[in-house]
Amino acid sequence: MKRMQTKCLAMAVVAAWLLSPVLAAKAPEALETVTVPLSKASQPAWVEAHVMFGSITVEAYAGREVVVETFLRGKSLQSKIEKKIEEAELDELKKEKKPTRDISGLRKIPIANTGLTIEEKDNRVSIRVDSWKQTVDLKIKVPVNTSLDLKCQSNGDIKVTGVTGEMDVNNLNGPIHLTGVTGTVLAHTLNGEIVATLTRVNPDKPMSFSTLNGDIDVTLPSSIRNNVRVESRGDIYSDFDIKLQKEPVKKVDNGRHKGGTFRVHITQGVFGTINGGGPEISFKNFNGDIYIRRK
């Protein structure tokens, strides 16, 4: 028994030693922090943020302003300054841009600027960064009652925590994580998983979660009343009591009276109802599994 305890203690010490650099690492410092006052602080806000290369993290907080922080990803600026242009890069620069110009011995001046632009009118906040040349991570603190329109292209994920409102979240090459959100969610990505935990949902509005390559893992309140539509080539798991529809859904378009065609489309996927049904929640992926969990 004593030997076992010693072994555990030794493992804990080794683990602590291995993790120490991670734990000791300082959180990255924001390049800039901008506080945006809302025109109507007592009313819900609407925040739109688009990033080409980078991530977006949105957190709800108790304040009444929107706080935007930007972070440049990659090596520290100082290391970029100290580094002379490498031979390969120099050759490329010479070949492509300046065949006649002597650029040997030059250093590249790093661009430590995100080109952040923020506009606010009537509680609608629009956030843009020049993230097409460098990876810029956005961290946004919003009042709890805020609707979101978030778009990312590459090199980053979208994370939302604790927000109440309508959320339209689109990523292209990265995951979407929504934690403890309330309201309505439209979440779409192409390459990445979607993990969402909803505390409450808007009972009158449909929702959608879709990805091409990745799992969808959504946790919903047990009291929801919705229709569900699930399309996947992978497996579908749920602990909800979903009443499945036996007949496939047929959609008929009769265009004959306009000289067109008569078209019957049998929709793929699984249809069902939870707690008697209501607005539709759609789950759709191609490569991956779908988990619909009850909270």
């Binding site: 800039e32 250093r107 001046i109």
Partner: protein, 285 residues
């Protein structure tokens, strides 16, 4: 895009449109002008306000100003050519400390600005080769069909082009050089002692300084690299502008990168949209 950039692009486009039309009737001549600037201090000024054509200024010893004017006219008809000869002139003005050469014509507004509201049916181009005492200040302007080239000048400069390069070398003063479509290349014989601004939209900016450079830079390129031959340190980014007008709050940071070379000194601003900015060291100094 700032208003002046937009206005200059409009002027350039209009002039290009006129220039691209078929202009078969032609005439040209060459003549010389001579002036004297008797002083020896940097308060003397040579001003050239051209519209079509290049400006080539070279500084040297003495007090003489010698101008070689190559005038070439292109017109749609013989009648338009006759009008061009009558309407467009190179007007020299000479005072004790200032020489001004201004291309005047119906495209000028009463306050001396250029306004291309109607097609004139002709283009008059002046290629100017000017020899000046090197201790003068320069104000040079052209719009189309010509580069501006300056060599060996001690005084300050204000140079503006629209569709063409700006190439200044052997410079010992400070000033501004602005173009829209073209490279800006400045080679200082003595490092600038006061603020400078170099701007283009489509083109590289190449700045060559002496080895003892001490200056603060604000650099901006949208689509290009920024390179330095001097060791530098990054400065805090200039704060973005905050504004609330008619209920709209706007925060904007305009993508400027600030660096310091040496212990810092005069502010040198360089900005391009599509092009590189290179700060290099004059190896012959």
């Amino acid at each position: 895009m700032k208003k002046w950039q937009f206005a200059m692009i409009c002027i350039g486009c209009a002039a290009w449109f006129i220039g691209s039309a078929d202009l078969p009737f032609r005439a040209q001549r060459e003549y010389r002008l001579a002036f004297t600037l008797p002083g020896d201090d940097l308060s003397q000024e040579v001003v050239v306000d051209n519209v079509f054509g290049k400006i080539d200024v070279r500084g040297g010893a003495g007090h003489d100003v010698r101008v070689t004017v190559h005038e070439s006219m292109r017109a749609t008809t013989a009648d338009a050519l006759a009008r061009a000869k009558k309407e467009v002139t190179l007007r020299p003005e000479h005072s004790a400390k200032r020489i001004r050469l201004m291309v005047d014509g119906p495209f000028r507004t009463p306050d001396g600005r250029i306004n291309w509201r109607r097609s004139l049916g002709y283009i008059v181009r002046y290629d100017l080769q000017i020899f000046v005492p090197r201790r003068v200040c320069l104000r040079l302007k052209t719009v189309n069909e010509g580069d501006i080239k300056v060599k060996d000048i001690d005084g300050d400069f204000r140079v503006s082009n629209v569709n063409g390069k700006i190439d200044l070398s052997g410079i010992r003063g400070s000033g501004n050089a602005v173009t829209v479509n073209g490279e800006v290349s400045i080679q200082f014989d003595r490092n600038p002692r006061s603020a400078c601004r170099f701007t283009t939209v489509n083109g590289d900016i190449l700045l060559v300084f002496g080895p003892t450079l001490a200056a603060d830079f604000r650099l901006k390129t949208f689509n290009g690299d920024m390179l330095s031959g001097f060791p530098f340190e990054l400065q805090p980014i200039p704060a973005g502008t905050r504004d609330r007008r008619k209920g709209r709050f706007v925060y904007r940071r305009d993508g400027v990168q600030a660096i310091r070379i040496g212990p810092g000194g005069p502010l040198i601003q360089a900005s391009t949209l599509n092009g590189d900015i290179t700060i290099s060291q004059n190896k012959t100094n």
